[in-house]
C-alpha cells in the first residue's frame, strides 16, 4: 500500500530529478520553445517540496492536490497549469484514503492525464507531454517500472514528430528532429515514481 509519505517522497524525488536535468530541459526548450522549461519546473517543484514539508498533508490525495495547486501558483509557464492539473486531478481522484494501491493510483493518474488533455486540447502524437503520459498511465496498471519505461520511450518517440500544440507548433516542420521538453520532463516525473517505489520496496 502507498501512504502519504510515499507520495511526499515521490514529489521530493521529482524535485531532485528536475534539479539534475534542468539544464537539459532548458536546452531542449531553447531548440523549439522559449528556453524556460528547466528553470520553470525547478522553481515549481522546489516550491512543492517545501510546501509538502511544511504542511505535511495526511493522505495521498491531499499530497498531490496541494502539490498541483503549488505548481499552478509558482511555475509561470504553461507547464504550471498542465502539471498542476495532472497532480491535482490525480489527487482528487484518489479521494481521502490514508493508503492507496498501485491500481487505484493507476486509475487516478489516468484521470489526471485525461484532464491534462482536456485543458490543453492536445492528443497523442501532437509532440507534447501527453506522448509520455498516456503510455505511462496505461502501463502503470501493470507495474511502476513499466510506466517509467513507457514514459521514457514515449518521450524519445517525440523526436520525429511535428509539434501541433504550444509555441513549438509555430515552427511547423522545423520542430521535427527535437525531443519535446514537456514529454521529457513528464518522463522524469514517472521515473521518479518508479524510483520511489523501488526504494520503498513497493511491489514492482
Amino acid at each position: 500500500m502507498l501512504d502519504a509519505d510515499f507520495f511526499r517522497r515521490w514529489m521530493a524525488a521529482t524535485a531532485t530529478a528536475v534539479d539534475r536535468e534542468a539544464d537539459r530541459l532548458t536546452e531542449l526548450d531553447s531548440a523549439i520553445g522559449d528556453a524556460d522549461h528547466g528553470s520553470n519546473l525547478q522553481r515549481g517543484f522546489t516550491a512543492v517540496a517545501a510546501v509538502l514539508e511544511k504542511e505535511a498533508p495526511a493522505t495521498p490525495g491531499a499530497v498531490l492536490t496541494l502539490a498541483g495547486r503549488q505548481l499552478i501558483s509558482t511555475v509561470g509557464g504553461a507547464s504550471g497549469p498542465l502539471y498542476g492539473t495532472l497532480l491535482r486531478r490525480t489527487g482528487k481522484a484518489l479521494g481521502e484514503d490514508a493508503e492507496v494501491t498501485r491500481d487505484q493510483l493507476a486509475q487516478a493518474f489516468a484521470a489526471g492525464v485525461a484532464a491534462v488533455g482536456q485543458l490543453g486540447g492536445a492528443q497523442a502524437g501532437d509532440k507534447t507531454m501527453l506522448d509520455a503520459l498516456l503510455p505511462a498511465a496505461e502501463a502503470l496498471a501493470s507495474s511502476f517500472q513499466g510506466a517509467a519505461d513507457a514514459a521514457r520511450a514515449g518521450a524519445e518517440a517525440t523526436v520525429p514528430l511535428q509539434a501541433r500544440k504550444g509555441r513549438a507548433s509555430y515552427l511547423g516542420e522545423r520542430s521535427i528532429g527535437h525531443q519535446d521538453p514537456g514529454a521529457t520532463s513528464a518522463a522524469l516525473l514517472v521515473e521518479a515514481l518508479a524510483e520511489t517505489a523501488r526504494d520503498g520496496g513497493a511491489e514492482a
Partner: protein, 136 residues
C-alpha cells in the same frame, strides 16, 4: 444603470507593460462617464515574462463588485492558467468567466460594454464579437 454594480475586467498578458497599456487603452476609449473596474495582471511578480496565478487572483479580487468578472488573456500559459484556476473553484471570485476574445479589441469592447452597465453575458458577447471585425 446608475448604482448597479459593474462587471469587472481582468487583462492577463505574458508582459506586464502589455497588460497595463491595453488596460489604459481600453479605459481611454471607453471614457465619457464612469468606467468599469479594469485590472492588469501581466507577467511575473518579479517583472519577468510569464503568467502569475497570484497576480491574476489579486487582480480579479480587486475588480469584483459582485456582478461577475470577465478575464481576457493573450496566449499559451495565460489561457491555461486561468482555465486551471477556474477548474479549482475557489481561487477566483464567483461568476468569473474566461472570455474567448482577441486581446486588444476584446478588451476595448468589454470595458465599453461593462461601463455602460452590461451584465457579464453582454460583456462576454461583446468581447467575443470583436473576432468578427475584419480589417481587410
Amino acid at each position: 444603470m446608475s448604482g448597479a454594480p459593474q462587471v469587472g475586467i481582468v487583462l492577463v498578458s505574458h508582459s506586464g507593460p502589455v497588460a497595463e497599456a491595453v488596460a489604459e487603452l481600453a479605459r481611454g476609449l471607453a471614457a465619457g462617464g464612469v468606467t468599469a473596474p479594469v485590472a492588469a495582471a501581466g507577467g511575473l511578480p518579479n517583472g519577468g515574462l510569464g503568467t502569475s496565478a497570484e497576480l491574476i487572483g489579486r487582480a480579479a479580487a480587486s475588480v469584483d463588485r459582485g456582478a461577475g468578472v470577465a478575464v481576457l488573456v493573450d496566449l499559451g500559459s495565460a489561457v491555461l492558467t486561468v482555465k486551471a484556476m477556474l477548474a479549482e473553484g475557489d481561487e477566483l471570485p464567483e461568476n468569473t468567466r474566461l472570455v474567448d476574445a482577441p486581446f486588444v479589441e476584446g478588451a476595448v469592447a468589454a470595458v465599453v460594454t461593462a461601463s455602460s452597465g452590461g451584465d457579464i453575458g453582454a460583456v462576454e458577447a461583446a468581447a467575443s464579437e470583436a473576432y468578427g471585425y475584419r480589417k481587410t
